[in-house]
Each structure stands twice: as structure tokens, then as C-alpha cells.
């Protein structure tokens, strides 16, 4: 088990290095010159060169990448003496459009994204799993049919539509949230109600499609597992239906959900662009979209892309380890 974890950890670190290097190479290929973008109106070739130097783009891609990695662990100073700015570790770069360390910008945006992802995750897991189990148990009956309508609606309505509908017909219609306060940050620990006001509807919107998918997935897994021989054995032993469902069926039926849920959650930690946009949440998704479409702020783009991929890779590692704990066939072979 320990060697398994160590191997997976090493593997993840190598992958992170490769992915980050790839990101640097890809952005280098894009035919937009950040040095020219940040240049003032009276731009001269020498000013562009100076900018290129300030942005750290006058060295090879490999060197840029290496400076970034070092900065992650040791912090980094941008610019020349006199106007030098130091960003503490983990330094993700310096944004010349916002004149701030990228780490600071990301740290401001991340609580929005985390709140949204976590809230949606809890909602969709609880709704998806309970509806899935319910409709598997009541296969063909009214509850199952109602759940299948929910699945159909949830999987076919895109988030941007449900989001707009929720804002127009629930949030604004019933005055549930002051439009001027839409997207305001509230600390969930000191102002839980304010936090709920900001995040409940975005989380519910984001969770809808996932909840529908998880309902379908849970339902089919529970039905499939119920016809397994080992469930017949559990029944032959004399166990009650309740114990059979809770202990024997769900344990086997939900194991694969751990993997999928972990990866879906990781995907959202990189930012939920559409939901953040509709509900005015200044999370990572909105940050990166703005950086790409309005300012072409390369350090922010690189940082958010890297963060999103790092979450996926790290969650992959966690999910693999968690799965080994759940399934002894993985653990002991």
C-alpha cells in the first residue's frame, strides 16, 4: 500500500511538471505579444523590448518555466531595481494589467470558486445518490418515473439556460437576493446566511446537471448490483432488506461513484465559467475568462490554467488512493 502511494505520488509530480511545461510552450505559440499589449500609446521598439524584459519573456520558454517553478517555492521579484516588486512564495507571476501578484489575485478569487464547487458538490451528491437509490428501489413505479423526468430535464438543459431562468424567475422575481448584492462575498463562518444568499442559487444551478447524471448513474449501479450473486447470498443468509441495501448493495454500487465524483469536483475547482458569469461571482472562472478576452494578461492565464490542471491531477491521486481503501482487490494485489 505504501509503495503504491509513493509510486502514484511520484507519477503525479512528474505529470505536473510535464503539464506545466506544456502549458508554457502552448502559450508561447499563441501569436499575441504581451510585451506590445502593455505598451503605452507612444510605443517604440525599445519600449517593447524593455517590456519584454520586465515581463520575463526575453528568455527561452524553458527558462521561463524554470523561473516559474523556482518562484513557486522561493518567491520571485519582478522588474528592475527601483520599481521591483516581490511576490512571496508560492509566486504565480505578476499581473501587469492589475499591478498585483497573481497569487494575491488568485487568493481573492479562489474562495468564490471553492464555495461554489463545494456547495454544488454536496448538493448534487446528496440529491443524485438519494434519488438514484430511490428510483432503483421503486423501479417502474411513480417515484422512478418522476426521477427519470428530473434526469431528462437536468441533463438536457444547459447550465447557461437554467442559470438565467433561476436568476430571472426565482432570484429576482421573488426578491430573494438584492440584485446589487448578487455575487458579494460573505464569510461562511461568520455570516452563514449572507454566504447562503450569495451561493445557494449558483450552487443549485451548477448542481442540477450533475445531480441528474448522478441520479442516473446511481440508479443503474444499484439495479445492476442488486442482481449480483453476492446480494442473493446476503439474502440467503437471512439479512433484512435494509441491511442488504445499506451495507451490501450500496457499498459495491457507490464505489465507482467515488472516482467520478472526485474528478468532477476537481474539474470545478478550476472555475465554473458560466455559473460564475451569470451570478456575478468573481471566481477563478471569471478571472481567467477576463484575462483571456479582455486584458490578455498572460501570467493570470498561465496561473489559472495550471491551477485547474493541478487540481485534476492531484484529485486523480487522491481518488486512486481512496479507491484502494474501498476496494480490497486493488489494495491487496
Amino acid at each position: 500500500m505504501l509503495t503504491f502511494v509513493a509510486r502514484r505520488l511520484a507519477y503525479t509530480i512528474i505529470l505536473l511538471a510535464i503539464v506545466s511545461l506544456t502549458i508554457f510552450f502552448i502559450f508561447d505559440l499563441i501569436p499575441v505579444d504581451p510585451a506590445r499589449l502593455v505598451c503605452s500609446k507612444q510605443c517604440t521598439p525599445s519600449l517593447v523590448e524593455a517590456n519584454r524584459h520586465r515581463l520575463g519573456l526575453d528568455v527561452s520558454v524553458l527558462e521561463q518555466w524554470w523561473r516559474f517553478i523556482v518562484g513557486l517555492f522561493a518567491g520571485r521579484t519582478f522588474g528592475e531595481e527601483g520599481i521591483a516588486i516581490t511576490c512571496a512564495a508560492p509566486a504565480l507571476g505578476y499581473s501587469f494589467s492589475r499591478h498585483e501578484c497573481v497569487t494575491t489575485i488568485v487568493a481573492e478569487a479562489f474562495p468564490f470558486t471553492l464555495s461554489l464547487a463545494l456547495g454544488a458538490f454536496v448538493l448534487w451528491l446528496s440529491v443524485g445518490i438519494s434519488l438514484g437509490v430511490l428510483s432503483a428501489r421503486k423501479k417502474g413505479k411513480f417515484a422512478d418515473r418522476a426521477a427519470s423526468v428530473f434526469v431528462l430535464v437536468g441533463t438536457s438543459l444547459p447550465t447557461f439556460i437554467t442559470g438565467i431562468l433561476v436568476v430571472l424567475f426565482i432570484v429576482l422575481q421573488f426578491n430573494l437576493v438584492n440584485p446589487l448584492e448578487l455575487g458579494n462575498w460573505h464569510n461562511p463562518f461568520t455570516e452563514p446566511l449572507g454566504w447562503l444568499q450569495t451561493f445557494f442559487f449558483p450552487c443549485a444551478t451548477l448542481a442540477l446537471a450533475y445531480a441528474a447524471t448522478y441520479t442516473r448513474f446511481t440508479r443503474s449501479n444499484v439495479i445492476e448490483t442488486s442482481s449480483e450473486d453476492f446480494i442473493r447470498t446476503a439474502r440467503a443468509k437471512g439479512l433484512t432488506e435494509k441491511v442488504i441495501l445499506r451495507k451490501h448493495t450500496l457499498r459495491a454500487a457507490l464505489a465507482p461513484i467515488v472516482t467520478i465524483a472526485g474528478l468532477d469536483f476537481a474539474g470545478l475547482l478550476g472555475g465554473a465559467i458560466i455559473t460564475e458569469g451569470i451570478f456575478g461571482l468573481n471566481g477563478l472562472g471569471r478571472l481567467s475568462i477576463k484575462a483571456v478576452t479582455q486584458t490578455y494578461d498572460l501570467p493570470i492565464i498561465v496561473a489559472t490554467t495550471l491551477i485547474a490542471s493541478a487540481f485534476v491531477l492531484i484529485m486523480n491521486l487522491i481518488v486512486d488512493i481512496a479507491y484502494a481503501f474501498i476496494d480490497p482487490r486493488v489494495r491487496t494485489s
Binding site: D229, T233, R235, A236, K237, G238, P328, R329, T332
Partner: protein, 340 residues
């Protein structure tokens, strides 16, 4: 005197889109404590379906069951077919147990062997977790698993096929049931392991004075362990007799066919191995007469085409040896002799 289990006129059918599958058709059999009843027949003849009904393991919504299956328990008889689901559940594991064909898929892959046996024990016994594991270890030891104390902490995938079936037997017997239904317990195993498992069942039967129903499609495995044999075909019992009746005085052409397809060494003469030609009937649309008629080489010997038009009744050919055939036993014997 009544036997421990008495199944009478059991009918089990499954309504499907293509029609009703009549998997068990007026089936009657009984087995006493300390006795072994073998139920033999080709795959799909209704052996498992009949016995799953006794265990109450059919889906109540999708299965139609009539008839009776009475367990003569110490505190009075219970008909498991008409009893409530909860009553039958409380009999499972404690009064009757069942083991299945594929011991790999029959054990839960996520729980240790010891936990799975202990879980069955805890259902009917008070005791700590430790007591449960201790009991599980005892049972594993009893069924011949070496180093049982440490193997109890292993998972099913760490056991070999034969070991898993031993573990299943340990689990089925942990509450000392009076009836054990073994549904093809050796079919998935190597030949050498097969005889070990059958021997184990025989030994345990002596120790616990159990009634055993041994389901198999292989007549070859029952000669040594069974007291009585029921031969099933197309959802019906076609012949029912003692081991000697079935092996030495078979009275049904299907039983003859089965015997011919089993390798036997008879004194002096070598035996030609012959599978029964043709396919078992579909249980949705059984032939109107004898279900075996399309495959039976003797059906032409019966006058007025009765084989194709009338279902033969299961009649006593003397001293409790039952057969479901229009042909007279003496006539069948003569025909067989003529052929040889």
C-alpha cells in the same frame, strides 16, 4: 412420518413479454434430516427455480408461486410459500441455508471472509465482534481451511475456487441449519476439488444431521452422496426414486439418456458415451404432450400417439419409485434389451 421438508405441487412461473415461463410445474419432493436428495436434470430444467422458491428468494413482484413447501420445525410446521416474507427471512440461515454454483461471485468482494461469516452468525446470536470472528474461524477450521485464524482476515479474491466454496459452506452452516440446499456446488470447480467438496458435505451432514438437497446437472456426482434422486425435465419431475432405482432400474427414457451420457465402468463391458440428441424444450411453450417427446426415441412405441397429445402423469411403479411416462416399465426394459 413427515420429512423435514415437504414440497407439494409447487408451481413457479415468470410472466414475461414473450409469455409465461413455467419453470417449475407441479413439483413435489421431500427430504428428511440426515438424508440427501439429489435433483438432477439438464441446465434450464427448473432445479434452481424450485429451490429458490423454497428459500423465498424469488422476486415477489415478478414471480407467480403456488403450491406448498412445508418445513417441519421443532415448534411446528411452516409453509414457506404462504408464510409472510419476514417469517421466511427469519428461517433463512437458521433453519435453511443455500450455497451456489459460483463461489467467486457469491461472496461480497469488499468484505473479509471472516466478516461475512460472522455477519451471518450475529444475526441469530448475541456476541461481540470478536466472538463473531472466533466463530467464523472455528467454522473455517471445520470446513478444512488451513490456518483459519489468519485466513479469516483475507478477502474472497485471495482464496482459490475450492476454498471459496468451503467458506460458503462455513457461512451457510454457521447457524446450524436443518436444511442445506447446495445448488451445483461443484460445477465451477476442478474435478479433484469437486470430490473433496462432496466428501466435506457428507461429513458435515453426519455431524449436524442435516437434510441436504444437492442440485446438479451431472448424474455422475450423485451416486456416492445421495439417498434419493429426482430427475427434472422441462420444469417437471419425470422420475423419482432411490439411487438404486435410478441407476439400476431407470423407468424413464430421459433418465436412460442421462445415464448413457455419464462415463461408467460396468464390469467387463465398455460403455458407449452418448449425449441425448436435441435441445431441452422452451418453458414458455411446452409441447402439449410429454415434454420429452420431441427427443424421445421410444415415443413411436406408444400407441395412438399419446406421447404427443397427453402429459403423462407421475405414477408409482412400485415401492415409491415414480415415473412420468406412457410406456410401461416392462415394455421399456424389453425395448432397451432389444437395442443392445
Amino acid at each position: 412420518m413427515s420429512k423435514f421438508l415437504e414440497v407439494t405441487n409447487l408451481n413457479v412461473s415468470f410472466p414475461t413479454e414473450d409469455g409465461e415461463v413455467r419453470a417449475s410445474n407441479e413439483v413435489s419432493y421431500s427430504v428428511g434430516l440426515g438424508e440427501t436428495l439429489a435433483i438432477v436434470g439438464e441446465s434450464g430444467s427448473g432445479k434452481s427455480v424450485s429451490n429458490l422458491a423454497v428459500m423465498g428468494l424469488h422476486n415477489p413482484v415478478r414471480t407467480k408461486i403456488t403450491g406448498s413447501a412445508v418445513l417441519n420445525l421443532a415448534d411446528g410446521p411452516v409453509d414457506v410459500i404462504s408464510a409472510s416474507a419476514d417469517t421466511v427471512r427469519r428461517l433463512r440461515g437458521k433453519s435453511m441455508s443455500m450455497i451456489f454454483q459460483d463461489p467467486m461471485s457469491a461472496l461480497h468482494p469488499f468484505f473479509t471472509i471472516g466478516d461475512q461469516i460472522a455477519e451471518a452468525w450475529h444475526l441469530y446470536n448475541k456476541g461481540s465482534k470478536k466472538d463473531g470472528i472466533k466463530k467464523a474461524t472455528e467454522m473455517l477450521d471445520l470446513v478444512g481451511i488451513p490456518d483459519a485464524a489468519s485466513r479469516a482476515h483475507d478477502y474472497p479474491h485471495q482464496f482459490s475456487g475450492g476454498m471459496r466454496q468451503r467458506a460458503m459452506i462455513a457461512m451457510a452452516l454457521v447457524n446450524n441449519p436443518s436444511l442445506l440446499i447446495a445448488d451445483e456446488p461443484t460445477t465451477a470447480l476442478d474435478v479433484t476439488v469437486q470430490s473433496q467438496i462432496l466428501q466435506l458435505l457428507k461429513d458435515l451432514q453426519k455431524e449436524f444431521n442435516m437434510a441436504i438437497i444437492l442440485i446438479t446437472h451431472d448424474l455422475g456426482v450423485v451416486a456416492e452422496v445421495a439417498d434419493r434422486i429426482c430427475v427434472m425435465y422441462g420444469g417437471r419431475i419425470v422420475e423419482d426414486g432411490t439411487v438404486d432405482d435410478i441407476f439400476y432400474r431407470p423407468e424413464h427414457p430421459y433418465t436412460l439418456g442421462l445415464l448413457n451420457s455419464v462415463p461408467r465402468i460396468t464390469a467387463g463391458e465398455s460403455h458407449r458415451l452418448r449425449a441425448i440428441p436435441g435441445q431441452p424444450p422452451s418453458l414458455i411453450s411446452l409441447p402439449s404432450g410429454c415434454a420429452f417427446q420431441p427427443r424421445c426415441e421410444y415415443s413411436t412405441k406408444v400407441s395412438s400417439g399419446a406421447c404427443a397429445s397427453t402429459v403423462p402423469s407421475l405414477s408409482d411403479k412400485g415401492s415409491g419409485h415414480l415415473s412420468r411416462c406412457h410406456l410401461d416399465a416392462a415394455d421399456l426394459n424389453n425395448l432397451v434389451k432389444d437395442k443392445a
